[in-house]
Structures are given as structure tokens and as C-alpha cells.
């Protein structure tokens, strides 16, 4: 199995979740993050002071999938999250040794 993690623009979350459902993904875990990359912070003036805001809010999605689905799911996320502007985010895949479903104690693909 694989864990696909996506860092996306917060306002694309609904679209990505819809795309995942369309791709047959049964569950997702979502959390808040912030990041920077090419999308560097910008300079702001506030109450007479000038300073740089460098961390931009992002949303993290984590999806456990069968090995076979990792590529499809990645593409689904990429196309749903894309706005074409710098800062759209990253999607990466790491190998997973095992998954367990807490409710039943099942392991492996059955636990997804």
C-alpha cells in the first residue's frame, strides 16, 4: 500500500475531495499546515511597519491507497488542485508496510 500526501491551497480542498470521491477513494485525513517554496512571502506594511510574511497557509491531505491506485490518485489530486499559480503545492507518495483498521483490527488492503 501507499500513502499519498498532498499539500494544496486551502481553497481547493472541496474540489480535491470531490475528485477523490470520484476516483473511488473511500477515506481521507485532512490537517492544517503552512509552507513556502517558490511562492516566497510578500512584503507588507502594517501600522507604519514594513515586514515580510513568508509562510502561506496550506491544507494537507493524506490518503492511503492500494499500490495500484497511487498514480491515479496523485493525478486526480493534481488536476483538481491546479490553479496554475505559484504555490499550488506538492503531492508525494511513500511506501506503507501495513495498515490496520482500528474498529475491526483488520490489516492490509481490507483496512482501507
Amino acid at each position: 500500500m501507499k500513502l499519498v500526501t498532498a499539500i494544496i491551497q486551502p481553497h481547493r480542498t472541496d474540489e480535491v475531495r470531490a475528485a477523490l470521491e470520484a476516483a473511488g477513494v473511500k477515506g481521507v485525513t485532512v490537517s492544517e499546515a503552512a509552507g513556502y517554496g517558490r511562492q516566497k512571502g510578500h512584503t507588507e506594511v502594517y501600522r507604519g511597519a514594513e515586514y515580510t510574511v513568508d509562510l502561506v497557509p496550506k491544507t494537507r491531505l493524506e490518503v492511503l491507497v492500494d499500490d495500484a491506485d497511487a498514480a491515479t490518485v496523485t493525478e486526480a489530486i493534481v488536476s483538481a488542485a491546479q490553479t496554475g499559480k505559484i504555490g499550488d503545492g506538492k503531492v508525494w507518495t511513500v511506501p506503507v508496510d501495513d495498515v490496520a483498521r482500528v474498529r475491526t483490527g483488520e490489516h492490509g488492503a481490507d483496512a482501507l
Binding site: E44, V45, Y46, R47, G48, A49, V53
Partner: protein
């Protein structure tokens, strides 16, 4: 005894008492999430030691029989016992009203020492400052039937028009503003000052504070008529006019300079307007009040940036708001007074330039005294129990270190 006047003064004193918690929110919202409690505790602490300072010597020095027009007799009424036993309702509630002024004045200073002053040192500072700075200056301006040093009937200005300070432009705002500057210099800048944003952690709290300040300020200004009369009503209307327009002044500057009108600017505009109209609220017509308010917003909006230029960390803008708008309001009387009080009109209302000069002189004396006296108090504390927390405490948050608390545990 006129029960209507007593009713209004009871109400006014209650309103002014509410200003200090209002200030706690205005300042607390502006500070960072890790130091909001300390910020608020400086206001609540001012209420605690301010009461103590007032009933021991503050009231007597401020309102007692004058000693050479300089201070009231410090032993005039220890514990306010004689005043209460006298049974004169107006005298009793006036003593209470005075306490609320002393408290808010010293609390204002806390904005300049945000995030980095030892709490115990603050309590000591507030106690001493009420007795040694607030009380004497209030005696000069309002003591002995306005006949002490800086009063319109006093030895220095008795033969000239003014000086006028209806509700505390010199005594409260210039005084606190100068003290704030001195303390900011004594304490030094916060780690990250001028580099990190240090944005307000909770802007709705800032607006809540501004609202409570405005509300309470009606007691401050209109209550200073010590009667429910035409002066009080005039002060009420001018206070509202100046404050509403000051919001416009401040956010216009922001819109033009930075492109955006901020809520912090609107809230600050409220306070700047209130500060500027404080000395002048009974001396102006509403057009004058509108001009005072508009320019208070403009001047203070421009002035809050100075600290980055000159490198003093007046963290929450005591100088930019209280000193600058307090000075402006005090001087504006010399320009815009409509002559209602003793026929003394300002420069643009047919009076001469004298009144302006007298106002400036009174402001100048206050500035000099406040700076020196505050410096002495601050130095004594610095070299005895110390003024400033360690850098580690400052970075990790003064709330946890000094008060053992964090403001929010909402997730639990």
C-alpha cells in the same frame, strides 16, 4: 444637593472605572497571544494598586488643601474617612471619580512596556507613579478651585486666558504619553522589534476595547462637568463628533498610504479622537470638534510609525496616540475655542494667539515634570528589583512565566 447631578456623577464614575478593563482589551488584543494576559494584568493591577495609592496619599495630594499651589496636603484625608463622614454626596462621589482617573492614567502607560516588564515591578511603578506624578499634576491643573500652578486662576496664568483642560488632556494623556516614552526608553526594545511583525493577536478584542473606552469616555468628558447640565451635554456631543470623525481621519491616511483601511486603524482612530477632544470638549462647537477629531486621526496615524524611525519600542503606541493627540487637543483649544468659557476664544475664532501660547506652556510644564519624575521612578526600580524579564521569558511568552497561564486553551 441636586440628585440629578449626583446621579450623573455616580454614572460617570462607573463609566470611567469601566475604561480600564476596556483598555485591557484594547491593549490585550494588540499584543501577541503569548503576552495578552500580562498586558491585561497591568490594567487590572493598576486598578488594584491605583485604589491603594489613591486612598492613602493620592487623593490628598490631588484634592487636598493646597500647599503653595504645588501639592495638596498629603495628610489631608488619609483613607477618605473625613470625606465619607462628611456625608456630602457630591464630595464623596467626586473622590471616587478621581480614583478612576488616576487608575486609567497609569494604566495607559502599560502599552509602552508590553511583553517585557516584570509584573511586580509594574505594580510598584504604578503605585509610585499615581502618588508622585499623577496626583501632583492633577493638583496643578484642577486643584484649589483651578487656582493651583497650572489652573486658569493660578499664579502663573491667572492674568491670561486659559490654560484650559476640561477632562485631562495634560493631566491624563500628555502625562501618560510622556511617561510611556520614558519607560519604553528605559526598558529597551523587544527582541525582534522592527523585524518581526508582532501583529495584534485578536483584533475583535481591540475593537471591544475601543468601544468600551468610547462608552466610558462619556463619563470621563461629560462627567467632568460635575453636573448634568449644558456643559455636560456639550461635552457629550463634541466627544461623539470628534471620535466619529477621527476614525475617518485615521483610515483615510491608511487608505492613501497603504491602500487599505484597517480595523486596527479604526479602533486607534476612536482612541485618538477621544484623547484629542478630552481637554477641549467644552470649549468647541461641533465643527471645531470635527476638525480636532479629523486631525487627531491624521496626526496619530502618521505618528505611530515614528518609533521605527527613532528606535524606541513604544509597543502599543502610547506616544503616538496619547502624547500626540493629547498635545494636539490641548493646543487646539488655542486655535478653535469658541469663547463659551470665560469668553476666551481661540485664534481662528477671533481670539489672539495668547491662549495658544498658554496652552503650549501648560503642556510643556507637564511634559518636563512627567519626564523627569517618571525617569527617577523608573531608574530606582531598574536598579533595585529590576524592570525587565529575561530574554528567554520574553521569547517563550511572559504570560506563562509571570502568571503561570496561557490565555487560550480552546481545544480542550
Amino acid at each position: 444637593m441636586d440628585s440629578g447631578n449626583i446621579a450623573w456623577l455616580l454614572t460617570s464614575a462607573s463609566l470611567v472605572l469601566l475604561m480600564t478593563p476596556g483598555l485591557a482589551f484594547f491593549y490585550g488584543g494588540m499584543s501577541r497571544g503569548k503576552s495578552v494576559l500580562n498586558m491585561m494584568m497591568m490594567s487590572f493591577g493598576a486598578m488594584a494598586v491605583g485604589v491603594l495609592a489613591w486612598i492613602t496619599f493620592g487623593f490628598s495630594i490631588s484634592a487636598g488643601d493646597t500647599m503653595g499651589d504645588i501639592i495638596g496636603n498629603p495628610m489631608y484625608d488619609f483613607g477618605l474617612i473625613d470625606t465619607l463622614e462628611g456625608g456630602d454626596a457630591m464630595a464623596i462621589i467626586s473622590a471616587g471619580f478621581g480614583a478612576t482617573f488616576a487608575i486609567i492614567t497609569v494604566a495607559l502607560i502599560s502599552g509602552s512596556v508590553a511583553d517585557r516588564m516584570k509584573f511586580g515591578s509594574w505594580l510598584l511603578f504604578a503605585f509610585l507613579w499615581v502618588i508622585l506624578v499623577y496626583a501632583p499634576v492633577s493638583h496643578w491643573v484642577w486643584g484649589d478651585g483651578f487656582a493651583a500652578l497650572l489652573g486658569p486662576d493660578g499664579p502663573w496664568f491667572g492674568s491670561l486666558p486659559g490654560p484650559y483642560d476640561f477632562a485631562g488632556g495634560t493631566v491624563v494623556h500628555i502625562n501618560a504619553g510622556v511617561a510611556g516614552l520614558v519607560m519604553a526608553l528605559l526598558l529597551g526594545v523587544r527582541k525582534g522589534f522592527g523585524k518581526e511583525p508582532m501583529r495584534p493577536h485578536n483584533l475583535p478584542f481591540v475593537m471591544l476595547g475601543a468601544a468600551l473606552l468610547w462608552f466610558g469616555w462619556f463619563g470621563f468628558n461629560a462627567g467632568s462637568a460635575f453636573a448634568a447640565d449644558g456643559f455636560a451635554a456639550t461635552a457629550w456631543v463634541n466627544t461623539t463628533v470628534a471620535t466619529g470623525i477621527a476614525i475617518l481621519g485615521w483610515i483615510l491616511v491608511e487608505k492613501i498610504r497603504d491602500g487599505k483601511a484597517t480595523s486596527l486603524g479604526a479602533a486607534s482612530g476612536v482612541v485618538a479622537g477621544l484623547v484629542a477632544i478630552t481637554p477641549a470638549c467644552a470649549s468647541l462647537d461641533p465643527i471645531g470638534a470635527a476638525i480636532v477629531g479629523l486631525l487627531a486621526g491624521v496626526f496619530s496615524a502618521l505618528a505611530v510609525g515614528l518609533k521605527y524611525k527613532f528606535g524606541y519600542d513604544d509597543s502599543l503606541d502610547v506616544v503616538g496616540v496619547h502624547l500626540v493627540s493629547g498635545l494636539w487637543g490641548t493646543l487646539a483649544i488655542g486655535l478653535l475655542a469658541n469663547g463659551t468659557i470665560n469668553g476666551d476664544a481661540g485664534l481662528f475664532y477671533g481670539g489672539g494667539i495668547t491662549l495658544f501660547g498658554v496652552q503650549a506652556a501648560a503642556a510643556g510644564v507637564t511634559i518636563v515634570y512627567s519626564a523627569i519624575a517618571t525617569l527617577i521612578i523608573g531608574l530606582v526600580i531598574k536598579y533595585t528589583i529590576g524592570l525587565r524579564v529575561s530574554e528567554e521569558v520574553e521569547v517563550s511568552g511572559i504570560d506563562l512565566a509571570e502568571h503561570g497561564e496561557t490565555a487560550y486553551e480552546e481545544a480542550k
